[in-house]
């Protein structure tokens, strides 16, 4: 069962055990043990909220390095959909791509084209009576994992279309294999968030990712700015831009797929509430729920550098005057059947109190009694995000009642049998 990979990790030396990440984790996956904020692997969804909120920079995402490019004959960069919005409008897409090439990439793959292709199919699916509604896309992998953990009954609402990054990477590799047979091709995603990195290292719905690694926007940004600000670029080449770039912002998927009966939700806590309502059958009039764990959509990703609202403005400015890709071009070049993921999405079973219901009920009873002993103020000093979480951990033998500071002040547990 120890089959978890997470890109979010703790840098122990920097952690002060302050509990900020623990209190903000949407899945209560963090416990402070011996003064260090440990992540419970089965509960972590790699949303990266802890990276954003840590005052000491003690949470980070594992990425590859520029040195990892050397393993490949052809080195390609695939910037996240929100990548270009991180730079001032002063720097054109061409200039930014040239800076990436200066850094060591041979080519830059633009996935916003593929986002638009997928948006067309998303729109078609929304009219298909066979498709369970409201549809949910896998574009935000943190939300897909949230559904696997918390709302398994909504897995059937997840649409079977792959993400733009996977489609773009696979098609690029197919084309390269024809053009340069025998050459090794490495595609590196320049990521706005840890959840995307995890979905490359350990994909959902796919046996293997077509991408080979991931770098973070945050790490590359200073290097690129150095190149951009110190060199005049006289290149006359015009780089195409696509409406698909809107997938970087909240509402972009609905906009490009022209689905009107769609609800657009950002911020993981709000998404969790909407998913609960969907599970209750309360959103049956909707065709699509567009969800992002981060505020504003991918522009708000924890590995981005720019303010999400400024980045949003830039996406809107860049795409305002663009026209959509011709439908015939999409119909003739993309076979819908080849744009689907190949594995079933399975629920992730966070273990309950016990496999045996009668034992679980006994434990539940003890949790109830323990809650009477605990102060109920959710101070977090014990290292658990709430008194209830501590009670559950005590029953599961992961913590002790004496971990509660209020119990300590009172001179130990009132009831020794607990």
């Amino acid at each position: 069962m120890a089959d978890y990979f997470h890109s979010v990790i703790l840098i122990e030396e920097k952690c002060t055990g302050c509990t900020v990440c623990m209190q903000n984790c949407p899945t209560q996956a963090i416990r402070v043990v011996d003064g260090k904020a440990q992540i419970t692997p089965e509960k972590c969804i790699d949303c990266g909220i802890c990276i954003r909120v840590c005052p000491y920079g003690a949470k980070t995402a594992v990425t590859d390095t520029m040195r990892d490019l050397e393993a490949y004959d052809i080195k390609a960069a695939m910037p996240s959909m929100s990548f270009y919005s991180q730079f001032s409008q002063h720097y054109s897409k061409t200039k930014i791509n040239n800076a990436l090439k200066t850094l060591g990439f041979d080519e830059v793959i633009d996935q916003s084209y593929h986002a638009e292709v997928l948006a067309y199919h998303l729109g078609n699916l929304s009219e298909d009576p066979q498709q369970v509604k409201p549809m949910i896309s896998t574009y935000c992998p943190a939300i897909t994992r949230l559904i696997q953990i918390k709302n398994p009954e909504l897995i059937k609402n997840i649409i079977p279309i792959e993400t733009p990054m996977e489609v773009a990477a696979r098609l690029y590799k197919e084309a390269m294999a024809e053009r340069n047979p025998g050459a090794s091709v490495g595609i590196f995603y320049i990521s706005q968030c840890p959840a995307k990195i995890t979905s490359i290292k350990k994909p959902i719905g796919l046996g293997r990712s077509s991408l080979d690694g991931a770098l973070s926007t945050k790490n590359l940004y200073p290097l690129l700015m150095q190149i951009l600000s110190h060199r005049e670029d006289y290149s006359q080449e015009l780089t195409a831009a696509y409406l698909g770039e809107n997938w970087a912002i909240l509402g972009g998927q609905s906009l490009t797929s022209e689905i009107e009966a769609a609800i657009k939700v950002d911020d993981i806590d709000e998404v969790a509430k909407i998913l609960d309502m969907a599970e209750l059958g309360k959103l049956s009039g909707l065709k699509f729920i567009e969800t992002y764990a981060c505020v504003g959509g991918c522009v708000g990703g924890p590995l981005n550098v720019e303010n999400p609202f400024i980045a949003r403005y830039r996406v809107e400015s860049r795409t305002r005057s663009l026209s959509p890709i011709d439908i015939d071009e999409i119909e003739n070049n993309f076979d819908f059947g080849k744009l689907l993921w190949d594995l079933e999405i399975e629920p992730i079973d966070i273990l309950g109190l016990d496999k045996d219901l009668s034992v679980a009920l006994e434990k539940m009873d003890r949790i109830d009694k323990l809650l009477g002993e605990l102060p109920g103020i959710d101070c977090g000093a014990c290292g658990c995000p709430s008194c209830r979480a501590l009670a559950e951990d005590i029953v599961q033998k992961k913590a002790r009642l004496s971990d509660c500071v209020f119990q300590k002040l009172q001179g130990g547990p009132k009831n020794a049998t607990l």
């Binding site: 398994p152 599970e279 209750l280 273990l351 309950g352 016990d354 009920l361």
Partner: protein
């Protein structure tokens, strides 16, 4: 194991808590997600009915090794014609409530559809009591 949730009339800020607590509890007990979903819908519709139509009431959740029982009981004013109330789309909710997106007349039929057994009793002017069970 029993849990009890108090529902205040016309309070739509807290309405939904009985359902979400039911869901959390059953999840922790390792109950199958299909059954959790049905229980959550039953609790949600019941607490919404109490908040919308009654003078207030409570929801009891009882979990035994072979069965889940949800009992919804309110303080009146009772249902005049139960057969009519059970019809899909029939609602006595006010215009204001409907404006808020509630009162579509699907509450009781939804509960009955999700439950393995469903029993409703009411006296006009008095209390209404709904007893629902799910087999485990």
């Amino acid at each position: 194991m029993k849990f009890e949730y108090t529902i205040t009339t016309q309070n739509f800020t807290t309405a939904g808590e009985a359902s979400s607590n039911t869901k959390k509890t059953l999840k922790l007990l390792g109950i199958d997600s299909k059954i959790i979903r049905r229980a959550a819908i039953m609790a949600y519709e019941a607490e919404m009915n109490i908040a919308i139509h009654s003078r207030g009431g409570k929801i009891q959740l009882e979990i035994e090794a072979h069965r889940i029982t949800i009992v919804a009981e309110d303080q009146g004013p009772g249902i005049a014609d139960i057969d009519l109330a059970m019809k899909e789309g029939y609602s006595t909710a006010s215009h204001e409530i409907r404006e808020m997106g509630f009162g579509a007349g699907m509450g009781l039929p939804n509960m009955k559809r999700c439950a393995d057994s469903f029993d409703i009793s009411s006296t006009p002017g008095g209390k209404t009591r709904v007893v629902m069970t799910l087999n485990l």
